[in-house]
């Protein structure tokens, strides 16, 4: 991340008068990508590796229920992601201070919060897949959900534009079932000094909360029924 910030500062030098904007743009996108990388690759291993390595045997003999295990794993990774993102955010702040921009120092935190909400959703999806499939397949499926989640509004529009009722229904289902991650995209706006309004923040928070609760309930339900041979 430090390297990315360093590159952003160097690139900023090349864009006359746009150093701060370039730094924020590159850093926030890198923050999302690194976060998603951690959420997917650590998230999918959280449950499946415990089963593969049989560490669950000793844990479930203790007074720990399976839903507690899933929630504990999820919250642990979310806390790691939060710390990671805050440290990265402080790095961006340091870079902005270096180029002498004070305005963006405060306005980026709204976008960073939305990135965290997006990562929280991706982690919950990773945990759902991890509760019933292998780490490799879970990683692939979670990455696909992440990609489609950024295109879901476009896919819904496409379904309506195609004129087919079947296509419309299929894309409508995808739109409602998969997370709409565009709700959390405020990186370019933050680079231009904009701050997400209260309505957007509350809406995104509520959406993330509901989605995460549903995902964790599914993961706990699936995991509860598993036999550990």
């Amino acid at each position: 991340m430090l390297l990315v910030i360093g590159c952003a500062v160097l690139l900023g030098d090349l864009t006359d008068g746009q150093e701060a904007r370039t730094i924020v743009n590159i850093s926030l996108n890198a923050m999302l990508l690194f976060g998603v990388f951690i959420a997917i690759f650590v998230g999918v291993g959280l449950v499946s590796k415990e089963i593969e390595k049989r560490t669950v045997f000793a844990i479930f003999a203790k007074p720990v229920s399976r839903p507690q295990f899933i929630i504990g794993k999820y919250l642990g990774l979310c806390l790691t992601l939060l710390i990671n993102i805050v440290v990265m955010g402080l790095g961006v702040v340091a870079a902005l201070a270096y180029v002498g921009d004070r305005e963006l120092v405060f306005s980026i935190w709204g976008a960073i919060y939305l990135i965290f909400l997006e990562l929280a959703i991706v982690t919950s999806v990773a945990i759902v897949f991890s509760s019933f499939s292998s780490a490799a397949l879970s990683a692939l499926l979670t990455f696909l959900v992440f990609l489609i989640g950024h295109l879901s509004t476009s896919l819904r529009d496409l379904g309506q534009a195609l004129g087919s009722e079947v296509a419309r229904i299929v894309f409508e289902i995808i739109y409602y079932v998969l997370p709409n991650l565009q709700l959390f995209s405020f990186r370019s706006e933050a680079a231009n000094g904009l701050v997400p309004n209260a309505e957007m923040m509350l809406g995104a928070t509520a959406y993330a909360l509901v989605y995460v609760v549903i995902m964790l309930a599914i993961a706990a339900f699936v995991f509860q029924r598993r036999n550990f041979k």
Binding site: R54, V56, A58, A61, K62, P63
Partner: protein, 318 residues
């Protein structure tokens, strides 16, 4: 009678094949009751269903049929697990943690205080024979025997009322086995019920009050070990050890005693007869051939005999 473990009609089918259509019955209508404060040996050959039973009791597997209770509470009751301990066969732990850290972690899952966790960790790691210099080493650097010791220690972190040990002697050297045997006896003295599966029959004979033998998922025999050995055979034969005897002549005479077998060695012979009255018939033969009686010992049925007979009963009847 106060039973701490009650198993009723417990069955488990494993679904196999690509479409999971084929079912293999690993455990078949098991009924078993275990009294408190004793060491209970759970025996059976490979694939007999011992580990499946223990995993069902630990809620790692769901039974296809039947139910089980531990300490009067259903096995699905998570809080019941506060009063039990479990050491899996070939225990696996987070290998980047040290022995002290894993004990502390499991202690936290039981909600033990920091002071209690520290005290129990030190007590238990000492009692399982893990030297203090290894307490702060990562588990990935541990041998199989050392991991087994940590597995036993973690099973006792909460001072359980019932402890389940799946092959607890696995991977231990003779000194380790003796230490663990002493530990298990110590648990019984404190009133803890120990339910252990093992293949090491000498450990069962020296430790267990009651046993159950599984055969192909079904209960083949259960009860007090002494009763089981006596009611299913008691004294099997008599061994007569003699010295200074002439082998050829004695062998000829012994043909008159049905079932008598002889093994000669440079200083004498070992004669095995099936009935007590055969001993009186053999004595004159020994004297006649210049032999001197060294000892007469009744040969009792061993647990090994019982185990082999019970686990192979199907093959014999087939």
């Amino acid at each position: 009678m106060n039973h701490v473990i009650e198993i009723n009609n417990l069955s488990k089918d494993y679904e196999t094949g690509f479409w999971r259509k084929r079912k293999v019955r690993a455990l078949d209508s098991l009924d078993l009751n275990v009294k408190g404060g004793q060491i209970f040996g759970f025996l059976g050959g490979n694939g007999a269903g011992k580990t499946t039973t223990i995993k069902i009791l630990m809620s790692l597997l769901y039974p296809t049929e039947g139910m089980a209770k531990i300490l009067g509470r259903d096995i699905s009751d998570v809080q019941m697990h506060s009063s039990i301990g479990y050491c899996p066969e070939n225990p696996y732990f987070y290998d980047y943690l040290t022995a002290r850290e894993i004990m502390n972690y499991f202690g936290e899952l039981f909600g033990l205080s920091t002071e209690r966790r520290k005290t129990r960790t030190e007590q238990l790691l000492t009692s399982v024979g893990l030297s203090e210099k290894d307490w702060d080493r990562q588990l990935r650097k541990f041998s199989k025997g050392m991991l087994q010791r940590v597995g036993l220690a973690q099973a006792l972190i909460n001072s359980p009322e019932v402890v389940f040990l799946d092959e607890p002697m696995s991977g231990l050297d003779p000194i380790g086995r003796r230490e663990i045997r002493e530990l298990i006896v110590g648990l019984r003295e404190k009133g803890t019920t120990v339910f252990m599966s093992t293949h090491i029959l000498s450990d069962v004979e020296s430790l267990c009050d009651e046993v159950a033998i599984l055969r192909k998922g079904r209960l083949a025999a259960t009860g007090n070990l002494t009763d089981l050995l006596s009611e299913t055979g008691g004294t099997r034969s008599f061994e007569i050890v003699v010295s200074g005897v002439s082998p050829v002549a004695l062998n000829e005479d012994l043909t008159a005693v049905a079932g008598a077998t002889t093994a000669f060695h440079p200083s004498g012979a070992r004669i095995e007869v099936l009935a007590e009255e055969d001993i009186d018939r053999v004595f004159p033969m020994i004297r006649k051939n210049g032999g001197r009686l060294v000892s007469v010992t009744p040969v009792k049925q061993s647990l090994e005999d019982l185990f082999v007979r019970e686990t192979k009963a199907d093959e014999v009847s087939a």
